[in-house]
Every structure is written in structure tokens, then in C-alpha cells.
Symmetry: C2
Subunit: 218 residues, 2 copies
């Protein structure tokens, strides 16, 4: 019974196959997200992906391998793009940070993108290799990028003297909080914040706090 076939529907000829591996990863993300790594069942992942359980093993070695693939493909692809943009940037830093914030706002509100770090947070102890990978490819890289940008702003006198590594964290922390809050509490959060307005307040306060114009001591 049962076959598949995506034949008929065809977008053109009849590619007998969409990318099954990708279907499986999408299904896996949804299941892992909903139940956690340990509690997610391969039967459910297979069902959601529209394949039989055995098929999973044609594309992946094990449940763990599926999880790993998921994490490895989740390196926000924007990161490289942001790096290039930052590299080329010439004028004042403030608008560059504003660009960053709008990207961050999009990421923080996108459940698919937030899902991976959230899972990894829960499973970091179980998959130290993955945690290390994520640290290197995403966390350290992202913070490093921001650190350089802030340092440039400090050097140019646009910002007052702060430890750039600290300030870099201050830039993204509010987005992280927002993402976590969302994913835990959406369903029953009375008095939810408007993400765009929140981001605006954040940047407003942060930039005002970083700006060199106050004669503040210290």
C-alpha cells in the first residue's frame, strides 16, 4: 500500500522525488521542538515527513545523526552575509547596528530559527560536540562580529569607552530574552510586548547609553 509518488502533481516533468532528506529534517525539527530530543519518536518524524521509518535510515545513520544534521544546517546563513556587510561598512556605526537589530528581530520572531538553539540549550550536556560546534560557528562568530563593530565605534569616538565584548552581548541579549519568552509563554502571555516597539526601545536606550556625548564621569 501506499506509495508515494509525487509524480502526478508535478511541477514540470515528474521529479519522482522532492528532497526527502530535507523533508525528514523539517519533520524532525517540528517533532524535536514539540517534544524535546529524547521524547520525540522516529515513527512520528517519519509519519510527518510522509515516509516509512526505514526510509529515515536510508538518509541518516541514527536519531542522533538526524539531530546533528539539523543543528549543522541551522547556522543562520545570514551570518556570513552580515559579516560581509560589516566588513564593507564605512560610515558611522549606529545605522549598522540598526540593520543588525532588524535582522535579529526577524530571527527572534522566527520559530524555525529559534528552535535549534533552544533544543541545543536543553541538550548541550548530552551532545557536547554539537554545543562546541554551535559555539564556534554561531555564538562566538556572532559575538565576535558585533565586538569588532562596537570596537570600531569606540575607536572612532562615536561611542564612549566600553568593553566591546560586553557591549556586543548587550546588543543581542534583549532579542534572546524575547525569543525565549515567546517560546515558553506565548500561549498565555497576557500583556505581550510588541516586538518592533520593544526593539526600538532597546536600540534607543542602548545607543543613548553608548553614545559619547554625555559628559558622564567614569
Amino acid at each position: 500500500m501506499a506509495q508515494h509518488q509525487e509524480s502526478g502533481q508535478g511541477v514540470g516533468k515528474k521529479p519522482p522525488r522532492g528532497d526527502k532528506a530535507q523533508d525528514i529534517l523539517d519533520a524532525a525539527r517540528a517533532e524535536f521542538l514539540a517534544r524535546g530530543y529524547a521524547a520525540a519518536r522516529l515513527d512520528d518524524i517519519a509519519a510527518r515527513a510522509g515516509v516509512a521509518k526505514g526510509t529515515l535510515y536510508l538518509y541518516f545513520q541514527s536519531k542522533e545523526d538526524i539531530f546533528q544534521s539539523l543543528v549543522r544546517t541551522a547556522i543562520v546563513p545570514n551570518l556570513a552575509q552580515l559579516e560581509t556587510m560589516a566588513e564593507a561598512w564605512d560610515g558611522p556605526i549606529t545605522p549598522l547596528l540598526e540593520r543588525f537589530a532588524s535582522v535579529a528581530l526577524g530571527v527572534a520572531g522566527n520559530d524555525k530559527l529559534v528552535a535549534i538553539p533552544r533544543l541545543l540549550l536543553a541538550e548541550a550536556k548530552t551532545f557536547p560536540d554539537l554545543a562546541r560546534f554551535y559555539y564556534r560557528e554561531v555564538a562566538r562568530r556572532g559575538i565576535g562580529l558585533l565586538t569588532k563593530i562596537i570596537a570600531k565605534g569606540v575607536a572612532s569616538g562615536e561611542f564612549r569607552t566600553v568593553e566591546p565584548l560586553h557591549a556586543a552581548r548587550l546588543v543581542i541579549a534583549p532579542f534572546l530574552l524575547h525569543a525565549m519568552w515567546q517560546s515558553m509563554f506565548v500561549e498565555f502571555d497576557d500583556n505581550p510586548v510588541d516586538p518592533a516597539a520593544y526593539a526600538k526601545t532597546h536600540l534607543d536606550v542602548l545607543l543613548n547609553g553608548l553614545r559619547a556625548d554625555t559628559g558622564s564621569s567614569e
Copy 2:
């Protein structure tokens, strides 16, 4: 079935053993923390607590009940204390926020305290009741407290006009980021930040950003 009760428990005589329920909860926290809820084994929890598996069921109904008890006893007890302090506070808001920050710094660096929200973040979808409980008793309450404080600062003219709910989040976000970063990456973080210095930079930038003295527009 099953009943528990901590009857005698006496602090007096010579309890050959302290409060077993508490021992079990401590052991459970450690195991849940290390492996996640689903992967933690009751056998291990029992072993770590120094009791037999059956004993767990004299004190708790089920694995889920243990987890729930853990979360319910984790309401940072400081919260009530902070609420009282804030209530009574009279002078300028800035030093009050500094007090808060130092408490937050302690919490963010304490693995035992961070463990619970981290677990809950992973399991929120599986235990919506617990998530709601935590939202009401910790998250909303904590944010509410900070919101009121900020609002007072805005009303008094100490801070410029900002949405207090947003600013409240800005206060704690960097501590959350720190806690998450720690628990995921400690083992291989080259270039770790000094928590106290980081907190200092945070407050410095935030307060400078909130202060009403800049003639800045907006």
C-alpha cells in the same frame, strides 16, 4: 496509594537521615540537569539520593510529580524579599536597580537556580501547566516588579520617557544571556567574560541610556 507526608521529621532527635523528600529533589535536579527530563532515570535519582527506587514513590506520585515539585519549590525565594524592598524604597531608583543587578548576577551564576528555568524552557511544550505556573509566579511577577520600579523612575523624572515594560526586560536580558551562555559553553569558552565586570558595563550603559540628562530628542 502512596502517601507521604513528612511526619516526624524531627529536627530534634537524631534523624538518621535528613529530609528524604529534599534529598530526592536535590538528586532529581542534578539528574534532570545533566540529562534532561525524559532521559533522566529514576534509578539514578534514587541512587544519588541514597534511597531505593520504591522509596521515591513514598514521597512522590510519579516522575512528573517530582519534576513539578522541583519547579514549584524553585520560585526564587528572593523574589518576595525583593518585592518588599522595592515597595519600601524611597530615594532614587538607580541604586535600587544596582541592588537588583547584584542579586541577578548571583542568580545567573548559580547553576542550581539556573537549572530549573533551563529545564522548563526545554519542557515547556510538554508541561504547559508548569510553564503557566512559572510564568505567573516568576516571570510575570519579576518583570512586573521591575516594570513598576522603572515606571517610578520615569514618573519622578529620574529616567527619560520609555515604555517601562520594555525597559524592565532590558534590565534582565543580559543576565539571562549570561546564564544561557554559561550553561551551554562554559567548558570550552575561550575568552570568557568576567561576570562582575560585565554586569557593571551593563548597568553603566543601561543607566546612562535611561538617564534623563541627555538633551537627546525623541
